[in-house]
Amino acid sequence: MIERGRDQKGDRHIKADVVIVGTGAGGGMAASELSRRGLSVVALEEGPYLEQEDMTQREVDMMGKLYQERGGRATADMAIRVLGGRCVGGSTVHNINLCKRTPKAILDAWAREHHVSGCSGEEMRPVFESVERDLSVSEIPAGWRNPNNQVLERGVKALGWKGGPLKHNRVGCQQSGFCELGCPYNAKQNSLKVLVPDALDHGAQVISDVRVSRIVHDGHRASGVIGAALGADGHVRGRVTVDADAVVLAGSAIGSAVLGVRSGLPDPHDRLGRNLHMHPGIAVAGLFDDHIDGWKGVPQSYECMQLMDYNMNSDRRVWITTVFAHPIGAAVMLPGFGVEHRKWMRRYRNIAVLTAMVHDESSGRVGVREDGRALIDYKLVDSDVHQFSTGIRACARLLFAGGAKKVLVPSVPPIVLDREKQIDQIPMSAARPFNIQMAAVHPMGSMSLGDDPKTSVVKSSGEHHQVERLFVLDGSLFPTSLGAPPQISIYSFSRHLSKHVASRLSR
């Protein structure tokens, strides 16, 4: 049973073999793997434990329950919204279930240029296979493709571009289309449904509502964490101290780095928190004669890969898929205010939306604000702005090819295109931060792995270069952007590297 920190009375002291901070893809997998190996495991989650009946499918309500900073977290300059999960199951509770393996070209580049060992395509293949099996990953059947995704498919085929159906981890899906607000049908085969229960079955202790403030270490060896149990009102209910033989950070590329910085981890080469990538994305809308009703059905079941090449230094780094929002999300994206905005909202049923996500070369840094929250310093480099510009045009082309009568680039000022010929007139400035709303849902890389301590924070085993028995098993590990949704990579790297945690404890 998951314990709720919000019910805690007074202070609490726990002893375990391993303490894991975070219960998302990385933390849930680590809890499952390590408890299955007979280790006593305590997993701490900052957010609440939500059950099926808590998933109300209402935007304001669920943004507050599922997301960090109620969905309002952003880069320091406020140019890019950065969404991350905050509940038992982490971001796997609100993600769209997209399942793509780490591209082989990326794994090869990590080995070649970032000194990552033991994680080649050959070594990772059986791990990917086992993760996909355990999480019931399968291709979304064509009959489940909703009109928004049909638009993308039509566009890809009409243009003769590369694209195809996507795989998801969902079983018993009711196609309600509210995935980003949590699934009330328990269809997501995610950390919350599959891995956390497995860890509990193997004796792990999982405690929600605990904010870890510090890793206990002496500069050479980690020995636990200190945190606080938070009430539903956010007030501290009591202190939580866990003494452990190993500490696993799995609080996301933002959360783990924040904790590392706050804990004063040794950082002789100034790598901690650096190298943050995020796959920033923008949206472009198409207006159709027919109803699209984009909020209904399985989201993101089709992709366009025409502008994606995973080889390093490629100038094709744009991944395109569909994105749709419920009324508040759509209202925030659509341009103007008052009567002008209302006109757009009245066409809500006839709008299809595509997103262009950039496999980013831009690299940011995670730090800590005075109040202890994450400070995300991330600025787009010109080459990525150029990718956005290419992505906006490609989305417009796909929408017209998919049957759109008009295309809206929701920039400031908004750009409305009536025909395809106008696409080349979209100015580069439309792709700049602040000129168009940007959001990022895939933070990665702030504590990257590699065998060279000068260029990485943790070894290829996931263990910290300077602090023994401190491991990182989440998206922080990735030395570069993935260019693909990261959940399968995070699940797989956590499974792959958990064995090193276990073997370290047996020594």
Partner: protein, 177 residues
């Protein structure tokens, strides 16, 4: 040399006095303008009593913002913002309230209107909002977007707003699909 020195001293005194008068004038004028610009905000007593994060004048400004952003629709944007901001980090709340102060007092001047935002007519208010929405200053645009987002949340969270856009709302409310 001496008379010149005296003259210099006199000039210095005069300049000092002049600066003093100007400063006093500016301060007095500022206080006066401040009093005029920060008074006259009327919020119903029962509403004012319940405010958790907004002062009455913040409430009035956000209400005026919401009216224009949602026009011709309506929602209790200020009431929603007051509750929503309880959950924000103190720094974020502070930044948002600073933007509200800018919206009320500086943005109208920058757009060529002498009155404060909440005292302007609808056309002038739209003028001010447009100048913020399309401002060259990134932070002003971000501030506008943040308040606009709060307005949209306040309006589109209401099931009554969904029919007009054809949204059928949460499926869980209708049982298993």
């Amino acid at each position: 040399m001496r008379p010149i020195a005296q003259n210099d001293t006199l000039r210095r005194v005069d300049r000092r006095r002049f600066i003093g008068w100007v400063t006093a004038g500016v301060v007095a004028g500022g206080v006066g303008i401040g009093l005029v610009r920060s008074s006259g905000y009327h919020v119903k007593a029962d509403v004012a009593r319940k405010l958790q994060t907004l002062s009455p004048w913040h409430y009035v400004v956000i209400e005026a913002f919401g009216v224009r952003v949602l026009a011709p629709e309506q929602a209790d944007v200020a009431g929603f913002a007051d509750g929503f901001m309880v959950g924000l980090a103190a720094d974020d709340r502070h930044d948002l309230l600073r933007f509200v102060a800018y919206l009320e007092h500086i943005a109208p001047l920058a757009a060529g209107h002498v009155s404060r935002f909440s005292g302007l007519g609808p056309v002038q208010q739209d003028d001010v909002l447009r100048s913020l929405e399309q401002s060259n200053v990134d932070l002003l645009r971000a501030g506008f977007q943040a308040l606009e987002a709060l307005s949209m949340m306040a309006y589109y969270k209401q099931p009554a707003s969904w029919k007009a856009i054809g949204y059928d709302g949460p499926v869980v409310d209708r049982g298993k699909p």
